[in-house]
């Protein structure tokens, strides 16, 4: 696959995404700047597209960095407890502050995502049996433990409803003013590209990295901070989108390999195109209503994931 093909697919899908929805908007309507259609376009459709683009690129790159640093193809923010830890952080911020501000939520969610992922990496460091499937299984169990803590305290404090609204990955509620946090993932993505070579070297293992004079621990920590920033911004605005960080980097790895300098642009655009496609499907099949994007991503993503598991086990080793 060529990069320009992915870019064209992204542009076409973006265009479709802008012009479907409960209210019909034609490109010609936008010529009248005062019209209701233009207002909807600017308040709802454009923010939604931006949110999809940033979340799609962000989650795919976060997955790519995690797979590289953990040296395991099946580790991603959803299979390593990162998103569950971020959710736990949001819940705790709600418990501590009666009138929790957005900034407090961001800080709690970010620190929990970071610490949660660090703990997973520590667990990974300690276990000897590093099977391709075993490692993400531990990650999923670990995530479920975090998630059950969230549910328990959320139930006790009667804020379960609040928390489960974070659970659901959906672009339905994205309007201007409610998604701008996602823009913090742009500098994180730029940094990921600048650090691409270092991540690739670190992905060959600590001893390999040290042989080349790379400060392994520093690179590892920078990678985890980037993952935490991206995951937090996505969870707080869109919610949890499963599988994206898992399948997109793996598909790119299959045809392009693991040299991050080369694969980051592909991973980004494939992630965006895939998420756009899932969102468009969710908006079309029950028109004028919507299926949340996490459902369409989960259905399509799990099918792809299963194919990868059956076909690709040999490759993942």
């Amino acid at each position: 696959m060529r990069l320009w093909m992915l870019i064209i697919a992204t542009i076409v899908l973006s265009f479709i995404s802008l012009f479907i929805g409960a209210i019909d908007i034609k490109p010609s309507d936008l010529l009248d700047l005062g019209s209701e259609e233009t207002q909807i376009f600017l308040i709802s459709r454009v923010p939604r597209l931006m949110a999809i683009i940033l979340a799609g690129a962000g989650m795919s790159i976060a997955g790519l960095i995690m797979q590289s640093l953990s040296q395991n193809k099946f580790v991603s923010p959803t299979t390593a407890g990162t998103l569950d830890a971020a959710k736990l952080g949001i819940m705790i911020s709600m418990l501590f502050f009666t009138n929790v501000t957005y900034t407090q939520q961001i800080l709690f969610s970010f620190s929990f995502a970071l610490i949660g992922t660090l703990i997973f990496m520590q667990i990974l460091d300690r276990i000897k049996f590093k099977d391709a499937i075993f490692v993400p299984l531990i990650g999923i169990m670990y995530g479920n433990i975090l998630s059950s803590i969230t549910t328990f305290f959320g139930y006790e404090a009667d804020i379960l409803q609040n928390i489960s609204s974070w659970l659901m990955g959906s672009f339905t509620l994205i309007i201007a003013g409610r998604y701008e946090l996602l823009y913090v993932s742009i500098p994180a993505l730029v940094l990921a590209y600048i650090y691409a070579n270092k991540f690739t070297v670190a992905g060959m293992g600590e001893e390999f990295a040290k042989n080349l004079g790379l400060s392994y621990k520093v690179v590892l920590n920078i990678g985890l901070v980037l993952v935490a920033i991206i995951s937090t911004s996505v969870v707080l605005t869109v919610g949890v989108i499963p599988f994206l960080g898992l399948i997109v980097p793996n598909i790119v790895s299959l045809y392009m390999g693991d040299n991050l300098r080369k694969t980051i642009p592909h991973t980004m655009f494939l992630g965006i195109a895939f998420l756009l496609m899932c969102d468009i499907i969710g908006r079309i099949i029950v028109h004028p209503y919507e299926i949340p994007v996490n459902v369409t991503v989960a259905v399509i993503g799990s099918a792809i994931f299963l194919i990868m598991l059956f076909r690709g086990r040999a490759y993942a080793k």
Partner: protein, 255 residues
């Protein structure tokens, strides 16, 4: 010159390497030999800074290796360990290019590209330079990693059991290349070997360890004899001379 001075490493209460002092002579192949658990790999890891020693020091050009800046050190000493075999999908050429990382931080100059080409040619890998390393045979992959070390262009090349899982033909090929690195390019090679006969035929000096302690250190001919080998391996090992090479015939030995 690399000078190992009174190096000790303990894991828990057990000392894996105990008070070992060795000088690595420049322009030679030095083999570390000894029974399992003798501490050969641990010693090599400490020399290359992968592990910290508990006591003692390693000097590179009279300076403690710990005091070297990591990229400067990576231009002088390279190490290849078994664990480098990962599932990362890099092409042979990409892998070798990373050997230039200490110099170029990933942005290859024309000079870097030239050295990568040279390493490819040296290891005879041009035909498979665009293949992914996880799709290669064991021998090809080992050659690719050694080509990376060649591109890294260090004075000292440290290898931890590079012949593991290789068949006879590829083992001989790798040892011949290491010999060429020393004889043609003036490198210094330090290698952990299990096969005593490869150590005997290809190395200039042998360092023998046993239970973490230094047992023998000297020119190969002084060490490959039944008397010294009994001290190292606790078994009778007859040595025969074949085409000028000392071959240990231990396969049928009675303790």
């Amino acid at each position: 010159m690399i000078e190992i001075k009174g190096l000790t490493k303990r894991f828990g209460k057990k000392s894996v390497v105990e008070d070992v002092s060795v000088k690595i002579k420049q322009g030679t192949i030095t083999s570390f030999i000894g029974p399992n658990g003798a501490g050969k790999s641990t010693l090599l890891s400490m020399v290359s800074r992968l592990l910290d020693a508990d006591t003692g020091e390693v000097l590179l050009d009279k300076n403690n290796v710990k005091k070297w800046k990591s990229d400067e050190f990576a231009k002088r000493v390279s190490i290849l360990k078994q664990s480098n075999y990962t599932n990362v999908r890099l092409t042979v050429r990409e892998l070798i290019s990373f050997g230039r990382y200490p110099y170029s931080r990933g942005r290859l100059t024309a000079e870097d590209e030239r050295l990568v080409d040279q390493a490819l040619e040296y290891m005879n890998l041009q035909d498979i330079q665009d293949q992914f390393i996880d799709e290669l045979s064991g021998g090809q992959r080992q050659r690719a990693f050694i080509a990376m070390i060649i591109a890294q262009d260090t004075d000292y090349v440290l290898l931890d059991e590079p012949l593991n899982n290789l068949d006879m033909k590829h083992s001989v090929q790798i040892m011949k290349i290491l010999r060429k690195l020393v004889d043609d390019l003036g490198k210094t090679v330090v290698i952990v070997l299990h096969d005593i006969n490869f150590a005997s035929v290809y190395s200039d000096r042998i360092v023998a360890l046993k239970d973490g302690k230094l047992v023998k250190d000297g020119p190969t001919k002084d060490i490959i004899n039944s008397e010294s080998l009994r001290e190292i391996y606790d078994m009778h090992i007859p040595v025969q001379v074949q085409d000028g090479c000392r071959i240990c015939v231990y396969f049928n030995s009675h303790a």
